[in-house]
């Protein structure tokens, strides 16, 4: 589902002495099927931006188009619900939103709010619980008897069960250990590929943005600062450092290595594997020059 944001401006507490400009004239187009990473500091406007995409915040100026739905300043309520059905959000620490007696009921909450029948919702719950890597036995347990990591997966299943076309992830791995982080991120990338979704990932991790996203948006002070493919964005180290960000570790390392060898290295892939391969090429046994 194509997303098009035009001239989006948002003021918090408009018309009061506490008015604050959170977004300023943001225009952006996200073609269907894109995996977009949004990076930037706390307070750069990332959260405000994504909350507009499913109508939790309304624009002060400008429009948001998701598929054939258009949300403008002063839009109607009915539209918001239609929008929320298409766009699912996994918030930071999503396990804090669990509330029902059983995991199954909790996962069914979203689909049923959007008018699914009970059987359909139950079927979705079973499918999604397996998808997020939990055994079906947990469905009948109380979500509050699970471990933190399992609760996070249940909450994610609750959003996936709504079968959104667009999935927004607001730092979905915050607070997890390295292994849990990788598992969850791999899950989202697989889902994205298999279900032909549009995915928007808000993250502080340059590594995640580099590995998982097709495109990256850098936000700064409520405006778009840079936008492009990971290769384009991470070729601009100075611009990133100017706003307190940096390139991923693999790029940092390649740049160091370039500093020694004096010849520019190719930077199109950001995995450790590919970095090792690129460097090994500089060695005799690696195959090429020297």
């Amino acid at each position: 589902m194509d997303i098009k944001i035009s001239g989006l401006t948002h003021r918090y507490k408009a018309g009061t002495p506490f008015e604050r400009l959170a977004l300023h004239d943001v225009s952006l187009s996200i073609p269907s099927g894109t995996f977009l990473a949004v990076i930037g500091h706390t307070g750069s406007g990332k959260s405000t931006l994504i909350q507009h995409l499913n109508g939790l915040l309304k624009p002060s100026e400008g429009t948001i188009k998701v598929g054939d739905l258009t949300i403008a300043a002063g839009g109607k309520k009915k539209q918001l619900k239609a929008l929320r059905k298409r766009v699912g959000i996994v918030f930071q620490y999503p396990e804090h939103q669990l509330f029902d007696e059983t995991v199954e009921k909790d996962v069914m909450f979203g689909p049923m709010n959007f008018g699914q029948s009970e059987e359909a919702a139950r079927a979705a719950a079973h499918e999604m619980i397996k998808l997020v890597g939990l055994p079906v036995e947990v469905l009948q347990k109380s979500p509050f008897d699970l471990s933190g990591g399992q609760m996070r997966r249940v909450a994610i299943a609750g959003v996936l069960a709504m079968e959104p076309d667009v999935l927004i992830l607001d730092e979905p791995t915050a607070g997890l250990d390295p292994r849990g982080r990788k598992e969850i991120m791999d899950l989202f990338r697989t889902l994205h590929d298999q279900r032909n979704m549009t995915t928007i990932l808000v993250t502080h991790s340059m590594e995640d943005a580099a590995y998982y996203a097709d495109r990256i948006l850098v936000m700064e002070k409520g405006s778009t600062y840079l936008e492009g493919t990971p290769a384009e964005i991470f070729a601009k180290r100075e611009e990133l450092q100017a706003v307190g960000l940096d390139v991923p570790e693999t790029v940092q390392f390649l740049l160091r290595w370039q500093g020694k060898t004096g010849k520019p290295a190719e930077m199109s892939s950001f995995t450790i594997e590919d970095t090792a391969k690129a460097i090994s090429a500089d060695f005799g046994k690696g195959g090429s020059t020297c």
């Binding site: 706390t42 915050a174 607070g175 250990d177 390392f253 160091r256 970095t275 090792a276 090994s280 060695f283």
Partner: protein, 279 residues
Amino acid sequence: MKELITVNNVSFQYPSEDDLTLTELSLSVYKGEWLAIVGHNGSGKSTLAKLLNGLLLPTSGEVKVEDYTTANEKELWEIRRRVGIVFQNPDNQFVGTSVRDDVAFGLENFGVPRDEMIERIQTSIARVNMQDFIESEPHHLSGGQKQRVAIAGIIAQKPSIIILDEATSMLDPMGRKEVIDTVKQLNEEEGITVISITHDLEEAVRADRVIVMKQGAILTTGSPREVFQNEALLLDAGLDLPFSLKLGLALRDYGVSLKEQHLTQEELVDALWTLKSAD
């Protein structure tokens, strides 16, 4: 080196659990060191932190801080003044309605006279660089700032040890750096001993000593160089490897004959360059 904390053959079991969370664990913490304790969730590392200042008492064995023991209830307060803990959630440890009131909380508990309290609050808030926020209310502060206030509250008590119990895990990269830099400074300039319980292996790499825990026991201990040499053991403990180690392993897979593990990017680049020059 002077031994500050001695954990002697300690086992611990939560009343609600069937198994021991810690089993016959012994360790020493030395004055002035930065000790990182790493381990997978459920390895018992946070339980250990709570035993070190008597928030939990061992089922068997003994925990001694300087010359005090947590077994003696009268000495607990001496121990808690000396061992401060910064917890994970920045919001849930902020007691006061303003920065000043929060830093005062511990001092009030320990009965510090008011004049001295005012002086100590000033210096410790300046020490963590929060002097511009002294009147601020907690909901106007970032996570990193709240954690720095928690640190100020501890150093105002003139402690000998600060424990960071996953204190940076809920912060963004900027907040994480603020907190680590602040504690690093206290460690280097004032010789405060730091015990950092963390998932962040990049931080553990910079510690003086690392303890790896698994299932309530110590799997290994040593300098980061020694500990991170043994990647099989780290993987066994459910830990991810620091970046330079992972890259080093991958390079070997591609036939680059590195002899040992390198902990930082600088070291790895230098080693590669030496290797290439000899090529």
